[in-house]
Symmetry: C2
Subunit: 646 residues, 2 copies
């Protein structure tokens, strides 16, 4: 159920879902409320007055009983359960005057969801079950057991090629399964990898088991492995699970994993870790719906090139060394159980093909999911991360590249950087006059550090109010307790030690700003280089698709403000979320889409940016907030304080 929330005195109205957190609602609406503790309810700053309507709030010791009677609540502890009118209390400045609130000219906005554009896909999976009540053999009809089954399978289609069959293990059990089941069996059939290929019988079960047909889609991320269990008879996702990739103990990013893989036993250890993680995901999803892993008939996975190599035990040594050649880009279909995956011996593990060493199967799956390869619209597909991947193109051509953005977006190289887990500052607003922060943390836990989306948010806000300038330097003129010369460089205190979970002030430093600028500069230079290579500009783009979980948490306006995204019509932006997982899920469910996989990867041409001089030039020009060429960022130009402009 939706409710309207009306913030006063800013006069901002938004529509939210029942149960949404009121502090989050304000933050998303660009309505500033003091919030120092991330939303945990301890700082007591986010006091608001509910003028109309009701909230469901946990009791807060920070409020006096008369305040509660007057309708005051802590926004961070309140959930919307009706239409609301919410009054933000006046801030009394040191000089005793009321602070005049300046509503933001631009609202925090999100990109649109791509759901409509992806369209629907058929529930017509590449694996199917077919039940047969066979005629028992007689002396006049004593075909082999396998022929008895294949004859029944091809009965409807006498001119069809007979289905082929599988590994000897299937045949070892077949005569006993058939007789035990009194000749009533269900065949699990894998449809051809190519259209012309006949179906393959991969397993035979006693009795009629057609109702139980499950598949698993897996995204093998460098950090996280996510799986969704799908009922292939309905296409529904019936369980989800995710888990940190167990390889993390051997290194945070792909490069450190590759280095580890070159140690004696390293490759095997990495392979075992990720398989262990996948097995945990399988265990979790199976438990959620009370099935056993043997009930899963089919696994479709996508991962970057290094992750896929490591999973298959292929040595990624030359992925890292120039000229960056993977062993292969199309991966052999693997028998999951033989690899050590908890799966029925018949189960195949299909892997999305890669395009190059740093444009992997996860990107192919993402492009496949959003059907870029079938759309006439010129699309820029972006997956932001340590290795940012960029694809530009449409149904006729696609060019792609990876740019090494560095780890800033994942919290690396940032003094208080952290992954996007509980306690990470993910949203930030600043009161333009008091320069006090409104910080929102993941799970509203006490702040522990800054995640990637928080970093973008912080830098954009500091830039907009002039705390930092376009070169990423602090305005040394400002006198404010939160702005100070720290141990390394100038810094802004996001959370005081008393409000934080880490017993020290959480700050953002000029060094952090430098690292962020390099990261966003690399991405932006990547877009430019790819577009330029096909003689196009940002103005030619019909769509910009943000893939990756990270993409979903980016405040679009703030990302444009710092120059991470191009300053074009906001309606062209779409969120795709975990596109890799989505691609795997679609392939798992729809055989027609499944067969497109390789077509997609073959349409994508890789471009190496690392030694491209144009890229380097664009990169240097992008080491500025948002960019040295402000004509590319007209809306940002408008809202930046004049003092900050060059």
């Amino acid at each position: 159920m939706s409710y309207s929330v009306h913030f006063l005195p800013d006069d901002v109205r938004v529509t939210v879902e029942e149960g949404d957190n009121l502090l989050d609602t304000a933050a998303n609406a660009g309505v500033y409320i003091h919030a120092f503790c991330g939303g945990e309810g301890v700082c007591g700053k986010c006091k608001v007055k509910i003028e109309q309507g009701e909230v469901s709030a946990t009791q807060a010791t920070q409020l006096k009983s008369d305040e509660i009677e007057q309708g005051f609540r802590l926004a961070c502890q309140s959930k919307v359960v009706s239409d609301l009118v919410v009054q933000i209390p006046e801030t009394i400045r040191k000089d005793g005057k009321k602070l005049k609130r300046k509503p933001k000219t631009t609202r925090s906005i999100s990109a649109r969801s791509l759901d409509d554009l992806i369209g629907v896909w058929d529930v017509d999976p590449p694996v199917e079950k077919r039940f047969f009540a066979l005629n028992p053999p007689t002396i006049e009809d004593n075909l082999s057991d396998l022929q008895r089954l294949t004859r029944a399978i091809s009965k409807g289609c006498p001119e069809c090629e007979r289905p082929s069959y599988d590994h000897p293990e299937l045949l070892q059990e077949l005569p006993f399964t058939m007789r035990r089941a009194n000749w009533e069996v269900t065949a699990i059939m894998l449809r051809g990898k190519r259209v012309e290929e006949p179906d393959r019988i991969i397993a035979v079960e006693s009795g009629d088991t057609e109702d139980a047909l499950y598949g698993l889609a897996v995204d093998i991320g460098t950090t996280t492995v996510c799986g969704v269990l799908i009922n292939l008879n309905t296409g529904e996702v019936i369980a989800e699970a995710s888990e940190y990739n167990g390889q993390i103990q051997y290194g945070e990013d792909v490069i450190s994993r590759i280095i580890y893989s070159q140690r004696p036993g390293g490759l095997q250890a990495l392979k075992e870790r990720v398989i262990h993680t996948i097995n945990n995901v399988i265990k979790t999803v199976c438990k959620k719906v009370s099935i056993v892993h043997d009930d899963i008939s089919y696994i479709m996975a996508a991962g970057n090139t290094t992750m896929t190599h490591l999973l298959l035990g292929l040595n990624p040594k030359f992925v890292r060394e120039a000229p960056y050649t993977p062993v292969c880009n199309e991966y052999p279909v693997a028998r999951a159980a033989l690899m050590g995956i908890s799966a029925h011996p018949s189960v195949r593990l299909f892997l999305y093909p890669s395009v190059a060493s740093y444009v992997g199967g996860d990107i192919t799956a993402g492009v496949h999911a959003c059907q870029m390869h079938k759309s006439p619209e010129l699309t820029l597909f972006i997956d932001i991360g340590t290795n940012g991947e960029i694809v530009v193109g449409n149904q006729e051509w696609m060019i792609c590249a990876a740019c090494s953005a560095g780890p800033a977006f994942e919290g690396g190289g940032i003094k208080h950087g952290m992954r996007a887990t509980s306690g990470a500052i993910e949203k930030f607003h600043i009161e333009p006059e008091t320069l006090d922060p409104m910080i929102i943390t993941i799970n509203h836990a006490k702040p522990q550090g800054i995640c990637g989306s928080g970093l973008i948010s912080i830098v954009a806000e500091l830039l907009e109010v002039g705390v930092i300038d376009q070169q990423g330097k602090f305005n040394r003129q400002l006198e404010h307790p939160r702005i100070r010369e720290g141990y390394d460089s100038y810094e802004y205190v996001l959370a005081w030690a008393k409000d934080s979970a880490v017993d020290e002030d959480i700050v953002i430093t000029e060094i952090d700003l430098d690292n962020l600028m390099r990261a966003k500069g690399a991405m932006y230079a990547g877009y430019q280089t790819l577009l330029e290579s096909v003689s196009m500009t940002f103005n030619d783009l019909d769509r910009v698709i943000l893939a990756g979980n990270f993409g979903n948490y980016i405040d679009l306006e703030q990302a444009i403000c710092i120059g991470l995204l191009p300053d074009i019509d906001r309606d062209k932006f779409y969120y795709l979320g975990n596109a890799s997982l989505l691609g795997a899920q679609i392939s798992l469910t729809d055989h027609k889409r499944f067969l497109e996989r390789t077509v997609v990867s073959k349409l994508m041409t890789n471009m190496e940016l690392s030694e491209n001089p144009n890229f380097m030039n664009h990169y240097m020009a992008a080491l500025f907030l948002p960019h040295t060429d402000m004509s590319m960022f007209p809306t940002v130009q408008e809202k930046l304080p004049e003092s900050s402009a060059k």
Copy 2:
């Protein structure tokens, strides 16, 4: 080099090859010479006088020096090295008169070799090697290693489907092989199982190894495993080896093997034994030509249904139980090394498809070898053995059946029966007047027993001279030291204890004759039943093809005489030898023939004789020598002594 040998006084002239044994030559020509010791040179009976020409003879203590000077030699110790005139000495009877020699009216004859009819096959094997000097990768051309190779492979044919590739193990080594070889590599390609299937890369080797391409053809017999190593660049057989099937320790025939396979661990033990045997064959052929087993790129095998099941670890339980269903008739292509076969991990083991539980891949391979499925001539294909297999048909249809002949042809159920090994009596003639024998043993060793071909020979000769009658009973009227009432029944002494290697008289008994009649009766009834089922008779046959090693040793005239083969124009008979091995060899060498394999098996329709009433009637009628219906054996009728006729 060929020489003419003229035997006197019989006035028989034959042409033989240089080095042929003179006793064998006489036996084959139907020229009787006393020979009691099988040809070992100890009995000294086979004394002949070389009237013209030279023989190469080992010195014989049985000859006096004046005899040697006069030109006497032991035939069994003499090799033909020039044109010869050979005088057989007169035999002096007890009454002092010279025995008048009666030259045989019908000569011992062999069927024709099928070589001409099989025709030639192409040297165009299903596996090939292709060398490539690849361009090393650069930053502008940094395809994956596999793509670099497949691009080179499909260079000559840009519109061709790219070859697929193989197991992950291949990919694990690929980047290192390529770099070590400085990008000069040889790909081993397996051509499609179907015409439309793209080639598959199964292995990649450093440098140019195109010259070394070997394949192994294997016949997996119940008794013997035979292998031939073929240079696939030339099609030549470069080494052969055979070895007793190691499963023999668990039973002589397929039924006892199936029974053993049902014991705990039995199936696995049988699988291991035959694989051990195959490995010995591989070791032997490789040693002969100084290659290692990893140099073999491809294995093509054929065996009966039970042997194939056991090799693959498929349970043959229901092969034995009515209604006799095998697990499958087309076998999965197996990775030889994974099964435990000494082979490179890339090597595939292809197995000839079966038709039914008792018409196996060996028969399919034989039919394939002789190209019955492409000939308009109506052909009867026979493989005589414990399980005799019969195929009738031509290019349009084929009907086949197995008949359980019992083990007589393999020495089973015969008092002094033995396998066709050293010391087995394989040829037999009898002097019609003295009733003394001319026995020839395998390797001319001292007689140890009787093998299948010897048994046929003995029975035919005893019948022809009236020692036995058409019911297989001894003529009790004859008084002769060799004919006597033995422990079990009447018997004829083939070799006295002093001339034998077993320290007892080697005899043939009436019980043996009974067993032989059942065996040959089952075969003959099988031919009749199959022909009748398609409303044909023996007169409609254009060809009779004798397959199996056994077939090559059968004296055609003698086999017809006892009713094992039909009494039709001798020119219609052909020998094919080990047809199963030949089929495997042809498939291994010629991809077009390779692709025909399954076509052949699908053209063959199996008929179950075991419960067929027509078969039973024919069988009962055939329990006679040669048959109760003598109108079917006109040439035998003519030569049988009147006393023997019913």
